[in-house]
Amino acid sequence: MSGIGTGYDLSVSTFSPDGRVFQTDYAQKAIDNSGTVVGIKCKDGVVLGVEKTIVSKMLEKGSNKRTFPVDRHAGMAVAGVIADGRQVVNRAFDEAVQYKSFYGDSIPGQVLADRVASFVHVFNLYWYARPFGTSVLLAAYDDSGPQLYVVEPSGNCHRFFGTAVGKGRQAAKTEIERLKLGEISCEQGVVEVAKILYSVHDEEKPFELEISWICDASDREFRRVPDAILEAAEQQAKASLEESDMED
């Protein structure tokens, strides 16, 4: 990240001599500093969890949402600049609607991910544009089963069993690797995601947990996890956090 002062970091339309596009790297930085977002694919669906920092004591609970449905069978979680993220979510929504009206069937997860990635990528090509300061996690459930994708500001798109972006991503990914994702259900997955987000959270600031899923329990539709299940998961997460603190 040594583009500063060299003049190569002002525009996405110029490569640096060692082959980087610094604006794209900086966009990634915007995400690396934001609240952690975790996604895991369980045996019956996908769970997306967001660590949402509470910016003011006077904020109502549930404001500034970071998970969004895109179609009945797909949804997204946004890390980084939410305003940018909503732009990406809106595009995903439009793609899903357009696909369905043209081809008469719901957009497959892979196609949606590719199309969103193409959209995001275009903002890395022109001097008058800046890349999105956001990474989106895309959960979809179609004929080929549940899927989890991540679209980065560069336009890169990867499919994962489980992944994390944002501030606590390293620790979160280590925790995810420990899970037996092929064996646990989404009900257990919600608890694991809550535990991970509580464990990677920097204790100084208050935060709100937002978890959405798409699985058999949600009729294979992308929805926010019901309050009762979310609260139970948070209780378990807090309990296991205290347990591990005792050990320390």
Binding site: Y103, G104, D105, P108
Partner: protein, 236 residues
């Protein structure tokens, strides 16, 4: 020479009309697939422009369309749908659904409904829903049906088809049903004729067959009374 001039004028008038598929087409589902059938006549007024036309056009590996109405319009629509489905195949990298082909066709027909004369039947097989038939009549409506008949000749066989189509037929029974129905329409409809073409689509692939005009089983109305015909009389 005046009579020749009159004849030439009449022929000129005849040939300057639109090339049209005054037609009998149909498609029917059975256990495991679909059968499509069509006659082979293309007319320009009273003139038969082609007596061995193929009105069963391939859209994808396992989806075909039966065309009726204007030959030019339905050919153009089919080739647009082929083009869009080809593009779709590139993006999807998976089996194309029959309803996707039907949806594309109806989009084209509906958005150009004032300019087109096209009655289509889209039929095929996909592993999600098996054999399917979609009727796509003039205005651009899209209806999923167990079987469908179309073209001028179909008016004569509604009763026959309503009575004889059954759910869960075997492939052989269904093909026999289609050939019989198209044969009956050919016998009564002046604008249908020639041969009978069929396409059978299952999970195993596509099988085409062709029944020449002289092999079409005669309908009762075609037979003369009391054995004055060489044709066999079905006494069953």
């Amino acid at each position: 020479m005046d009579h020749l001039r009159a004849y030439a004028d009449a022929l000129e008038r005849e040939l300057s009309q639109e090339v049209s598929l005054g037609t009998t087409i149909m498609a029917a589902t059975f256990d495991g697939g679909v059968v499509l059938g069509a006659d082979s006549r293309t007319s320009t007024g009273n003139y038969i422009a082609n007596r061995v036309t193929d009105k069963l056009t391939q859209l994808t590996d396992r989806v075909y369309v039966c065309r009726s109405g204007s030959a030019a319009d339905t050919q153009a629509i089919s080739s647009y749908v082929q083009f869009y489905l080809h593009q779709h195949q590139m993006e999807l990298n998976d089996e194309i659904l029959v309803k996707t082909a039907a949806s594309l066709a109806t989009k084209l027909v509906y958005s150009n409904k004032e300019a087109l004369q096209a009655g289509l039947i889209v039929a095929g097989y996909d592993s999600r829903e098996g054999g399917q038939v979609f009727a796509l009549p003039l205005g651009g409506t899209l209806v999923k049906v167990p079987f469908s008949i179309g073209g001028s000749g179909s008016a004569y066989i509604y009763g026959f088809c309503d009575k004889n189509w059954r759910p869960g037929m075997s492939e052989e029974d269904c093909q026999a049903f289609v050939v019989k129905a198209v044969g009956l329409a050919l016998a009564r409809d002046g604008s249908s004729g020639g041969c009978i073409r069929t396409v059978v689509i299952t999970k195993d692939g596509v099988r085409r067959s062709f029944l020449p005009n002289d092999k079409i089983p005669p309908a009762y109305g075609n037979l003369s009374f009391q054995g004055t015909t060489a044709m066999p009389v079905d006494t069953a």
